[in-house]
Amino acid sequence: MAEFSASVYQNEFLPDGGTDVHAIVTVECKGAGAAGQSGSGDAGEIIIVDTSGSMGADGVRAAAYAAQTALDQILDGVWFAVISGNDRAQLAFPPSPEPVMVRMDQFTRQAAKDAVARFYADGGTAMGTWLRLAGRVFATVPSLTQKHAILLTDGENQHETPEALTQAIESVTGQFQADCRGVGVAWVVDEVRRIAKALLGTVDIIPAPELLAREFSKLIQNAMSRGVAQADLRVWAPQGAEVLFVRQVAPTVEDLTSRRTAVNPLTGSYPTGSWGDESRDYHVAIRLAAKAIGQEQLAARVQLAIGDDVVAQGLVKALWSGDEALTTRINPEVAHYTGQTELADAIQEGLAAKAAGDTATATTKLGRAVQLAAQTGNEEATTRLRKVVDIEDQETGTVRLKRTVEKADEMALDTASTKTTRVKK
């Protein structure tokens, strides 16, 4: 049985007239078990593979091999299907004109592998159709509580309008989770990130087709180790208070603020998807009405809920004090993640400016990113930034854009921009 715990890191002391409370809440899950085996419903997995013409014979062969490797990792008993996508979506397995799923066993596994081997490259790219079909396929098995897909693409979403993709994303949001991967450098990070964000998944670049199999295998293993099908973060704030923002800040930065649904007038719920044995950090900011010095109040109850059951709770407090030694202290966790969030923004804004030809803004933003990566000890980000800019001075963030940059390096910097490092204890 999964066990959750929550710990709060904050400086609860506010100065006279102070209103804003910031806290980092770490939620940890232990004993999650395996997907579909917790007794609270079945798990479903759909593999979505790009078979558009741009994939080419070699690309499709690598993708088929990767899909077969992924099939090997899906646990027996888990419901599954395979979708091949180009400018429209086809159910490649089970072979059926109507949406359908089957349970994994040795026979269905082999049949699926055989079906995948018959993939060939043809047609364009319309990812919205892939997502809609996946939604319909998942919907055929009512017992599914945990629905996960991996989506592979290699190109721009040329064969449907951006609006059509947006509508498709909206129609499946909340229906299933999806980890998205782009192979090569012809796909658009923003486009695929939009899908992954909405579907509570990750986005990453796979520079070469031969690396696909290992990545797919890892993604499925990860999905299979998530025994908690669905959990929500709940944030209670007192009457009259304002929730300034709710962000996941580790392992990646995700702003959850706009995903709020009301549990009751004072409590909002934010979907967090499935959980394995892991910990995630959340940054919660609350604005209160100031109270007199010496007064104490609760600023937020931050809870993890499975269905209607609250399984962990952290208390964020506010205590007004006249002691400057207490009120001016900056909590190291809050400072660290504030920096990491700014780092993600600086990288994304810098790369967007660079793509738009705005060298001055790109230089400033990426310079700031270099500075923040150094300050927060995010060495991975520093390494990725080095491939895009020449660093003159890390401390002041003085950089020059490199004349020639590998497209894959730039995309890797972009997709990894939201990855954060933990506070060094």
Partner: protein, 349 residues
């Protein structure tokens, strides 16, 4: 807040001043010992070992909402009042008191213990102790002290030889015994190796068939406010300010000085002497007997205006002692609530 101007060496017990780095008597280093207890002294969540009965499902005192299992209101987030932070007693309809943390302090180190016979005006015993905030566990020690003193006074029925003066002597003897018991209670609640032993003030007022005797150690006070006649301060503080007043400096000036709250006598391990100084009064007409801590009188020190405030507050609360004590505490909080506040009252009709 009550503080001491002098303290003792934690090593040999000899007198030292706060400015000393080493003990004159034994040479022990003093600053390190003084710095050590900082953390436990700030621990506001330690509950006293003495139980206080309150209803655990009381609604939020701020908005009336439901208090959650985590101790905070589920509507406005206000921290629920810990039983030790605010409590009342009313042993008889005509005798009651309220003891409150105030606003600025994180802990209630004031304490109160009262007793009364049912028949109005017959017998009332009011004890108030104010813990010294610079010492450890004073909230626990002050409550234990007040209750120990009350129990001694409740048990004591010695009347002397029947004359007024011998009866007075008997009550004074009871007050001395009560102060001894209170002092013992403080010592029992002080860790033997505490570098900063618990200490508190003591005021007790005994009213028996018109004879009123008050005893004091420190700067908690007792007053008699007759409905007709001049208000009487029954106690003289053992304080730096009181010593200044004795030399002719005006009360308002003395009590606003930098050492106004420094007391010269207290109960506890390092107490120089804890025999209460007593005052006796023969009460004839109706009026209010009050025992209070400096959390109240800081905002109204003179007997006459405090009598006016008490009479007005009583009038606004239908003459009910409990409501009046509670309203006086609210009044002190409205003035700033800089310190813990205790008000105990007996109404003589």
């Amino acid at each position: 807040m009550t503080s001491t101007t002098q303290t003792v060496c934690p090593s040999c017990g000899g007198p030292v001043s706060e400015a000393d780095r080493y003990c004159e008597a034994c040479g022990a280093e003093l600053q390190a010992a003084a710095a050590a207890p900082a953390t436990p002294a700030l621990d506001t969540d330690t509950e006293p070992t003495v139980e206080i009965n309150t209803n655990p499902v009381d609604p939020c005192h701020s908005c009336g909402g439901v208090v959650g299992a985590d101790g905070y209101c589920e509507t406005c987030g206000t921290k629920a009042v810990k039983p030790r932070d605010h409590f009342t007693e009313q042993p008889a309809p005509w005798v009651a008191g309220t003891c409150d943390r105030g606003i600025r302090h994180s802990r209630n180190e004031d304490a109160m213990a009262i007793a009364a016979d049912a028949e109005p005006g017959s017998r009332a015993l009011l004890v108030v102790c104010d813990g010294v905030s610079s010492s450890l566990d004073s909230d626990v020690a002050s409550l234990a002290a007040a209750r120990a003193a009350r129990d001694v006074l409740v048990a004591g029925h010695a009347q002397g030889m029947g004359t007024e003066s011998s009866k007075n002597s008997a009550v004074v003897a009871r007050l001395n015994a009560a102060a001894d018991a209170a002092n013992d209670a403080v010592l029992e609640n002080t860790s033997p190796d505490s570098p900063n032993p618990a200490s508190c003030t003591f005021v007790a007022a005994v009213l028996e068939d018109g004879l009123l005797v008050a005893g004091v150690v420190g700067d908690s006070r007792a007053y008699w406010f007759p409905d007709d006649g001049e208000a009487v301060g029954l106690t003289v503080d053992d304080s730096w300010a009181a010593e200044l007043i004795a030399t002719g400096i005006p009360r308002a000036q003395a009590e606003s000085g930098p050492h106004a709250h420094a007391i010269t006598r207290w109960l506890g391990k390092d107490a120089p002497d804890h025999t209460p100084r007593t005052t006796t009064l023969r009460v004839t007409g109706p009026g209010w007997l009050m025992a209070c801590s400096d959390g109240l009188w800081n905002y109204c020190s003179e007997a006459a205006p405090l009598a006016d405030l008490t009479r007005q507050t009583a009038a606004a609360n239908g003459g009910d002692p409990l409501a009046t004590s509670s309203a006086l505490v609210d009044w002190a909080n409205a003035q700033g609530g800089q310190d813990n506040i205790t008000v105990a009252l007996a109404r003589l009709a």
